[in-house]
């Protein structure tokens, strides 16, 4: 169990990026002008700012993700020790997953997994 190499790899990665950018800075021309520094919008003048209220469609999905990611966190130690712990551990995890599956089924039925969620009043749209 040795985390020192991990730190070395993290440091090396940052050093590589720094060295590459420094070389670029030394070699490449640097002549900025206002036209060059505009935001790219297919050659047109940018219309408005993208820093606006943005409909993050996957907001609910992000919440579900957190639930399932935490579940995966519990699954890792379970998976390592499953063979020693035997049937009891398996049944326990089956119950745990079943409870979470009910949650997934609920979200699924509520159509929160759709990218474009139909408005509540809508007639059932074809899937």
């Amino acid at each position: 169990m040795n985390f020192v190499p991990i730190l070395i790899f993290l440091g090396a990665a940052a050093a590589v990026v720094f060295a590459a950018l420094l070389t670029n800075r030394l070699l490449a021309p640097h002549k900025p002008n206002p036209a060059k520094l505009t935001t790219y919008e297919c050659g047109e003048e940018p219309v408005g700012s993208p820093w606006i209220r943005f409909n993050t469609r996957f907001y609910v999905i992000a919440l579900i993700f957190i639930v399932f990611d935490v579940e995966v966190l519990f699954l890792f130690p379970w998976a390592v020790n499953l063979k020693q712990m035997g049937m009891f551990a398996w049944v326990e995890m089956a119950v745990f997953i079943a409870i979470l599956s009910i949650g997934l089924a609920y979200v699924w039925a509520k159509r929160d997994l759709e990218w474009i969620k139909p408005k509540p009043g809508w007639v059932k749209s074809k899937d």
Binding site: V17, L21, A79, L82, M93
Partner: protein, 338 residues
Amino acid sequence: MNLEFLSQIPLLLTIVYCVAVVAFVFLFVLFSNWLERKISAHIQDRLGPMETGGWHGWSQAIADALKLLFKEDIIPAAADNKLFRLAPYLVFVGSLAGFAVLPFGAQLIGSDLNIGMYYVIAISSLVVIGILMAGWASNNKWALYGAMRAAAQMVSYEVPVALSLLVPVIMSGTMSMQEIVHNQEGYFWNWYVFRMFPFSFVAFIIYFWASLAEVNRNPFDLPEAESELVAGYFTEYSGMRFAIFFLAEYGNMFVVSAIAATVFLGGWQAPFPFLKFIPGAVWFIGKAMSLVFVQMWLRWTLPRLRVDQLMHVCWKIFLPFSFANLMLVGLWAVLWGK
């Protein structure tokens, strides 16, 4: 060659190994960049680069890297300067950190953590933060859309990736990369992909498909869909900063393929014991490169999915299947695993 004396100074050895891995990443990116152009060309009945360097344009990627090195680095006036500069660091660190636990050979590993598998899944999430940061800081609509799509997709597909990687963890009862490889010793039918048929094979397929989404490769390359989003989250990046994103992306391609090779295809083990005289690193890189080739092949063969189809595949197909698969493998391991 006697390298015994190096074990007296493990820190130096690790640094040497780290430099070697960085060199390998650069070589891999140059080579696979050239390879991808040739493969895409031949799939589309073209020739691809033929001029640069003579033989089949072998130095095209090197020429491109040099070109990027001499390109002006433009930071748009409207961009958030600090975050814009920070994003490439996070993306590349997240990519290279994965290499630290890849077992290139019996001795060739940065650090054989006892939580190796978990570490890879955790550290690769750093890339998502880098991408969101790049997209937001660019202050560009294409970049923002690309980053939002990337975050939704990479976060969603992390769950099936983790669930299918749990299958080999159950089978070997450890998360250490080297121990998982050691448990697959012998003939190729001892590799995990062929054991517990078909559950492990299903896990391998789910992992491979979901990992395509994790690294934003076609058919899941919506975050950088050229025809609709210009270049996605790195639209505003130019010169070397662009090259860093490119490096990280290709590096991630290798990392996900190498993990698949490690946990499902026997890592550095030879397919037959009498082939053991060939160094493990050759087998490991060979297996990983074969999977990289399949990634390229798929990219130039399949059309891109729509964003709603992407979410559909993840949450309604991969997730239930990988949960069922995991529990069946668990049941098998409990009943006949000992």
